[in-house]
Amino acid sequence: MRRPTGQQRRLAVWRLRRAFATLVTMEVAGVERFFCERFGLTNAGLERVLGSALERHADYADLYFEFRVIQTASLEEGVVKHATRTLDQGVGVRVLAGARSGYAYSDEVSLERLEIAAGTARLIAEERGGTEALTAPATGRPRHDLYRLARPPVDTPLAEQTALLLRLDAVARAVDPAISNVLVGIGIEHRVVLMMTSGGVVVGDVRPLVRLNVTCIAERDGVRQQGTYGGGGRFAFGTLTDGRAERFAREAARQALVNLDAVDAPAGPMTVVLGPGWPGILLHEAIGHGLEGDFNRKRVSAFTDRIGTRVASELCTVVDDGTLPGRRGSLNVDDEGTPTGRTVLIERGILRGYLQDRLNATLMGMPLTGNGRRESFAHLPMPRMTNTFMLAGEEAPEDIIRSVDRGLYAVSFGGGQVDITNGRFVFSASEAYLIEGGKVGAPVKGATLIGNGPDVLTRITRVGSDLQLDEGIGTCGKDGQSVPVGVGLPTVRIDGLTVGGTQA
């Protein structure tokens, strides 16, 4: 099999010669040459396809080439049972005309297929009457190099991976004899993308992604429970083996054991303290999705027209930042070739900005923010989050817990979901405790917390100094597309969130 080893593992900007504007750096070409060689394509041929996509009244066209290898290995019941390797490749052709998108993709990549795809994609332009072509305001953002690696993690020898799996099984079981089963999965992805736009931009990106998940089952006195922990990012496989993976295994076991003793969760509104890190899923659901440009352009978000208004307490400043080195949610460029950046969503409680892709930024006359992402070549880009987190406050986390007479302290979560239009969101605790008299008390069974996006952050009365980003486990789903994301949060106190337990 041909692998993109020896390619440039960095952002590549290359020049389309003829009809297009030019952006040149010449160290480039690795990614672009990789695709041309793999599929027998030529620059002239690709220019012709873009030109044909732009016939009639289109504003914009782009090509998105993708090559991806995913390697997984998994352990259960003490043995490495499965290994899989998946090779995906394909190309998508997109044409934009006003609010219309035409898209065609194929996993058979040839000039002939591309011409057919361009013909389909431009159907939407032919439907439209002649109006002035719209263009998105240019971004002045710098390019990044956030995850350049000497060796793609996907080339990690399987023996190295299976050795880690076996070690983690032993680590988790050693925590307590009640641990009755351990499941560990490693997933390593190597994705090479190339974007060519009618604006003359040609951008390549090589995107590594490593993930490790541990699930432990604990059994005692006829009660069974589970604990799950994990993490990863756009970094070398070795980053996991510096002790981090062992910590994940111990955490999963600890969580399963804690849950063995869990009592029924309370039901109804109460004060909730969220621990640092992954509970930042609150931000992702409560405000992040509602600030994506598409929902606001269509005026179907609970945050429509609220820029400049107060949507959170003064203690809250929330950003989306795709430029954090090595993070799961980070990207050098989004899936439209726009460099990622740091977008302030909420500044001291005031709503400041939206997350944009090209289509929605253009139609709203707003700047690109580098949030146009897609799951793969088989999908249209949409505004998506990268790493979304709240900046640290000043309080000691212990003081925040001490300030609560009766409430819930939630430190780990499963998933969350939001209804963009009415703003209602949920997120489900997988490790939580009662707070009684300012002290952390008994663990409670998992319960869903429910709130209202434009309201919940106004109820934040204390923000800790302990900002943490999550370990790198988040996957965001929207409109059937999954993309890796990150979240982060310091310890916060929310006065009045409904807890969905069974003790009414």
Binding site: G414, Q417, D419, G446, G500, G501
Partner: protein
Amino acid sequence: MTLEDMARELVAAALGAGARDADAVVAESDGLGVGVRLREVEKVKRARQRRAGLRVFVGDSTAIASTADLTAEGLDTLARDACTLARSTAPDPHAGLPEAADLARDWPDLDLHDPALEALDPAQPLEWTREAEAAALDAAPEITNSEGSEFSSSVGQVTYASSLGFAGGYRGSHASLAVVPVATRDGAMQRDAWFTAHRKLAGLESPVSVGAEAARRTLRRLGARRAPTRDCPVVFDPESAATLLRHLAGAVAGPALYRRMSFLLGRLGEQVAASAVTVVDDPLLPAAPGSRPFDGEGVAQRRRTVVERGVLTTYLLDSYSARRLGLRPTGHASRGVGDVPSAGPTNFFVEPGPHAPEAIVASVREGLYVTELIGFGVNLVTGDYSRGAVGLWIENGELAYPVEEITIAGNLNDMLRDIEMVGNDLRLRTSLASPTLKIARMTVAGT
């Protein structure tokens, strides 16, 4: 080369590369998606995908590789990669293909494919989405906006071959039309949705009826308030009741059982639900959404009663989990082209009961009628259940007012046993389906 030939050749290549046994899946699909929003075309999308996946057994070790590179070189690499991977996994005495005796030998034409979906011109479905959205937008002045209407369709073929000599394939198609209107009252927005789906174009409901139903569902959410925290009966409409079936299917699936990750572990033959409840899995229903002539390992299909008047009568098993549990495979191997086979339902539904949905609502003095559930608060290891809910509050047997920002909680063990009434309104629009269900008591958390 046909897809079936390709699958056979992959198996042969795997044996040539040192595998003891192998099986291969080759799938292709062509898709079309179109959408309008506020009566204007919003998108047209066309798709074409072909993939091949190969599972090999080298000794008792196994591995899977898959590829979108279907050139001769790509397929050759696939076979070698799979065998190389398998040399790194541990031997597992339970690994292997199903017994030859369990394989499908012949199968009926299940009428899963509609040629009318093959050559669909985007102009036609664009017209349907326009009609459907217009029916919603024109339903009432309070429908002020829309997330649009979308039509999508796909036609495809799946073939499977194994070193047991099995080779077979079938064509299938699917089409759906959905509308998502947005309504506003007193500055507060609500959205809901409705859709129609079928394997055949002619099986879809009319665009106008889909739009009108989407509007009705959206309008009834206007003015939603919160409900007080309390224990009360909960009625699940057919859409939300189907989500309970998804949890049940997950808990009776072989992999969850041998991993000891199911609240229904060891409960075969026991009363796990109210006697009013019978759950059937039927892969052989003609033209149904989850039908298939054989499973992901070539195993023969038949209708099975999974829960018979409350008693759990079978698990859903692929060949591996069956061997682990000392049982026969039930033909429920589910399998993506490149994934480890798992087990899951086909057409999985609660048999309709005697009650009209109106009569079920009328039986509740005070309680909740659920129309939508959000979030992931279900723990299949323990059965603990806590999800966000949207619906209507029932007062004195009538739907009184819409409610939102509430949760419902309980334990699936209790919830299944507390199913007090089963509706007569089953429709197999999706592969998991249920009539209206009433659960005697759950905890609602709100104000």
